[in-house]
């Protein structure tokens, strides 16, 4: 579980200064460092990123009147549904992070010291 927090914090810092895809490097590295199974690597990474992306977008929403989110829903999702931009954003961020985390786990499996991964 600690990985979710580490991923969330590190990716938040990374994305403030680096391109958006720096989130993938963070989940890769964290899962390379520490993950017990493919499933947890993916899920923790997914959640770590999704929390940050959803949280940040909710914060933005809270600052504004929401009209713009509706316009984006129409534009990107072709539907008048203010929930879709949040769902889309959360899943997309989560997927990118999750897949990179999974890669980190598998790469660790073939290269690194495997005992580490079992101590978690």
């Amino acid at each position: 579980m600690i990985q979710i927090l580490v991923i969330a914090i590190l990716s938040l810092i990374a994305q403030l200064v680096l391109p958006w895809w720096s989130l993938a490097i963070v989940t890769f590295v964290v899962c390379f460092w520490r993950s017990s199974s493919a499933l947890t690597a993916f899920v923790y990474s997914f959640l770590g990123i999704a929390i940050v992306w959803l949280g940040y977008s909710l914060w933005v929403y809270g600052q504004t009147d929401g009209v713009f989110i509706m316009r984006i829903s129409q534009l990107v999702f072709k539907a008048n549904n203010a929930v879709l931009p949040f769902v889309g954003t959360t899943i997309l961020g989560g997927l990118a992070g999750g897949l990179a985390g999974l890669s980190g786990y598998f790469v660790r499996q073939v290269t690194g010291n495997q005992s580490m991964s079992h101590t978690a």
């Binding site: 600052q63 129409q74 961020g93």
Partner: protein, 808 residues
């Protein structure tokens, strides 16, 4: 196995990230777009905060900017350089994408952004010489110390904003289309002004008129397309004395006909693009001072065409609207005067048939001499494809214009037509606005106008000294009568433009006896004016209606001016329906046709949103005109022609109901006005029934017209305002059509302290994520105006001021 898994999953990850980080066709890079750190979320603008201090390099002294509740900046600068610097900075802050997009379009550079599909448009703009014209205008601007200072300050201000931007802060359109802003330049200011000339002064039907003359001969053409209309009310009241000694005008050459070998599809002028302005004198107003009103009609778009601003420096305190990309206030007022503009439909674009010596197109014949052709290479960058190089051939008349975008089109034509266009003249409109923004009295207004070139405008004026005036003003070529009504002969020097009408002799009227001045794009003057400006202008109905109302009004207030701006009376219908309706053969109608006729008969000629009569009349008027004229004049796409005006059609109906023109030459029977009126009426009802179902509420004018205010990127419906329910229409004082309409409405009460009102259909911010993106549309739709905050000094208290920014 483990290796394979690692490789596959890693590869998938890289592919996914790569795929999300790049655009696919016209779809944007999704990862970048959805990321809350850099994507669209960053464009959601809370518009909060009250005090800001922005450190900038570039101002000479600190500038204070107060921002009111409509997000209008009020700029207080300590010198003229800083005031324009701040204008550039603030305009870019709200409208950067629009400023760049419009100037990219004018320069023929849209292909860089959207790819191959913009290539025909880019070629067209290159070949008509938009960039060439802007370069000439830039030279003129830079030669003049005043305009040089303005443009350089404004440019530095825009660039100060651009420099401060991180990609996450780019306007949403950059993120959707996947590009970045480039530095602003003085040339872009020139391009923006050329874009206005292109919008307002690039319509031409010289080819169509030449084709008509070939089909019908000179006598019939002159009869159907006369040089002065039947129903009229010119801008300069008839009887106004011309207080100048005219200079000689060129004689009309004996042989003027040019054969038209070229089928060129040139856009005609858009009759819905026009404007209203008027000013009533002190004797007619309730305040004892003049009141001035203006509403320019343009294609309604988002981000909005206009940007409100107040500019205060030691030399000025001007308030009103500006064009994003151009320094100064274009329509507005200061402490002493108010001014406004409407378009003058002068003929300032003509086509010359060029005779080249041979296929190499290196020399052309003019006055019996072979003269060299200049080549200009236009390099067009195309997104995702190699650059395209377009060679444009220049004669002394101007560039050879061929239909852009059609591959191989040029090769099929041994000789094309050269365009002589006012936009290629080195004019300096900025200096005109510089003086107007600071003017205190009539003389300074006249002095300002002499600087103005194009697009020619009816400059209306009122001042605190209780003077009013109007002048159709711009750089007008000195022409023989009807020069440029038809295509011209490029080999004959007598067909050249031969100088200019002296600016001091442009039509002008000051304090006319009737107590008001006005314009609505109609004829500038009656035929006593010694110079030729054009043979046709916008239809006179709006002008006639405005003058009728103004003549009848007394004790005018700003609110009665507002009501006139929203007048929905369809004068065209009132003129023609009493003649047409009795002509309909009732016996032939049945069912919904009968209902439709009854509705039209009981219609009060008001084009309000619920009116069904307005819908029927508008469609019928179009179909009737086609039914009368198309059989004789329409020759399909191979020989482009045009139909006579409504004014001429009305004359035919009023004075010549037996005319042979009513007969449809494609049938064996002989039709008369009643036949044509009846069949076109029934066809109209059928057309409307097909569109809207049986006659009823679905035929209402507001629903039928469905005015839309669209984002500049075609198809971006999510950022557009669609189906705005508002009355009006073409030829109505409230000239709101499907896509065009009043892009700004302003009423100014002159007086010891001027009081002004205004609104435009949009908002100060160009950002669809801002609450100020389209917050004024509803006020505009309802025909209401907002009082404009006009501050006398930076210390002024006003409860509508919300924020303060200091630039230093």
């Amino acid at each position: 196995m483990r290796y394979l898994k690692a490789a596959i999953v890693s590869l998938l990850t890289v592919l996914l990230i790569w795929g999300l980080n790049r655009p696919w066709g016209s779809a944007p890079a999704l990862g970048r777009l959805l990321s809350p750190f850099v994507g669209f979320w960053q464009n959601a603008d809370p518009s909060t905060g009250s005090e800001d201090e922005i450190s900038l390099v570039g101002t000479k002294a600190p500038v204070t900017v107060l921002i009111d509740d409509m997000a209008v900046p009020h700029v207080f600068a300590q010198n003229d350089y800083d005031v324009y610097f701040a204008q550039g900075y603030l305009t870019a802050r709200d409208r950067l994408w629009q400023m760049e997009f419009q100037t990219h379009a004018a320069a023929g550079r849209l292909s860089e952004i959207v790819g191959e599909r913009a290539l025909p448009l880019d070629r067209f703009n290159r070949e008509i010489g938009m960039l060439y014209g802007a370069e000439k205008a830039l030279e003129a601007m830079m030669k003049d110390d005043t305009s040089k200072l303005i443009v350089e300050a404004y440019t530095a201000g825009v660039n100060a904003w651009i420099k401060s931007l991180k990609p996450a802060q780019y306007p949403i359109e950059y993120k959707l289309l996947g590009y970045s802003p480039e530095p602003w330049s003085a040339l872009k200011c020139a391009l923006l002004l050329k874009a206005m000339t292109s919008t307002l002064a690039s319509g031409a039907d010289d080819l169509q008129m030449s084709n008509v003359r070939q089909l019908l001969g000179s006598a019939v053409t002159n009869d159907l397309f006369p040089d002065y209309p039947d129903h009229k009310d010119p801008i300069i009241p008839p009887g106004t004395k011309w207080d100048f000694k005219p200079i000689p005008t060129p004689k009309q050459p004996d042989s003027v006909a040019v054969d038209n070998g070229l089928a060129m599809n040139w856009p005609g002028s858009n009759p819905a693009i026009g404007s209203n302005n008027w000013a009533v004198g002190a004797q007619k107003s309730a305040t004892g001072y003049p009141i001035l009103a203006n509403d320019p009609h343009l294609t309604l778009s988002l981000p909005s065409i206009w940007y409100q601003i107040q500019l205060v420096s030691p030399t000025m305190n001007a308030c009103g609207v500006s064009l994003p990309g151009s320094p100064g206030v274009i329509i507005g007022f200061n402490k002493d005067i108010a001014w406004g503009v409407t378009n003058v439909g002068a003929d300032v674009l003509d086509f010359y048939k060029i005779k080249f010596r041979d296929a190499k197109k290196q020399e052309y014949l003019h006055g019996g001499v072979w003269k060299p052709v200049r080549r200009r290479l236009e390099m067009i960058k195309v997104k995702g494809l190699p650059d395209v190089i377009d060679t444009v051939y220049y004669t002394h008349h101007g560039p050879i214009v061929n239909q852009g975008g059609q591959k191989g089109f040029r090769a099929n034509i041994p000789s094309g037509y050269a365009a002589r266009w006012i936009a290629h003249e080195p004019t300096n409109e900025l200096h005109c606005y510089y003086i107007l923004n600071r003017a205190k009295k009539y003389d300074e207004y006249v002095q300002a106008l002499a600087y103005y070139g194009a697009p020619a405008q009816n400059f209306i004026f009122a001042d605190v000294n209780k003077e009013i005036a109007i002048s159709p003003n711009g750089k007008f070529p000195l022409k023989w009568k009807e020069q440029g009504k038809y295509l011209l002969d490029g080999t004959n020097p007598a067909h050249d433009w031969q100088g200019w009408i002296p600016p001091a002799q442009n039509p002008r009227v000051r304090n006319p006896a009737r107590g008001f001045v006005s314009s609505a794009n109609q004829f500038s003057t009656d035929p006593t004016y010694p110079y030729y400006i054009n043979w046709q202008f916008a239809p006179a109905e709006r002008g006639i209606r405005i003058n009728q109302r103004l003549a009848a009004m007394n004790n005018v207030t700003s609110d009665s001016m507002r009501q006139l701006q929203n007048d929905l009376y369809n004068l065209r219908a009132a003129m023609v329906l009493p003649k047409l309706l009795p002509a309909i053969a009732d016996s032939k109608l049945k069912g919904d046709h009968v209902k439709a006729l009854a509705m039209l008969k009981s219609w009060d000629y008001e084009n309000d949103t619920s009116s069904i009569g307005a819908t029927i009349f508008t469609e019928w008027n179009r179909q009737l005109s086609e039914a009368i004229w198309k059989d004789e004049l329409d020759r399909g796409d191979s020989v482009l022609t045009r139909l006579p005006s409504f004014d001429r059609t009305l004359r035919l109906i009023e004075r010549d109901p037996q005319s042979h023109w009513f007969d449809n030459v494609k049938t064996k029977t002989i039709e008369t006005l009643p036949d044509i009126a009846t069949t076109s009426f029934m066809a109209t009802c059928d057309t409307l029934a097909k569109m809207h179902g049986p006659i009823g509420a679905s035929w209402a004018w507001g629903k039928h017209k469905a005015t839309s205010i669209r984002h500049l990127v075609p198809g971006l419906d999510a950022f557009s305002a669609l189906n705005v329910q508002i009355g009006g229409g073409s030829g109505i004082v409230n000239a709101t059509t499907e896509r065009t309409g009043p892009s700004w409405r302003m009423v100014v009460e002159l007086g010891p302290t001027p009081k002004a009102y205004g609104v435009y259909p949009g908002g100060q911010s160009g950002n669809p994520g801002s609450p100020n993106y389209q917050n004024m549309i509803e006020t505009w739709r309802q025909g209401q105006l907002k009082e404009l905050v006009y501050l006398q000094s930076v210390q002024d208290k006003n409860s509508r001021l919300k924020r303060k920014i200091t630039l230093k």
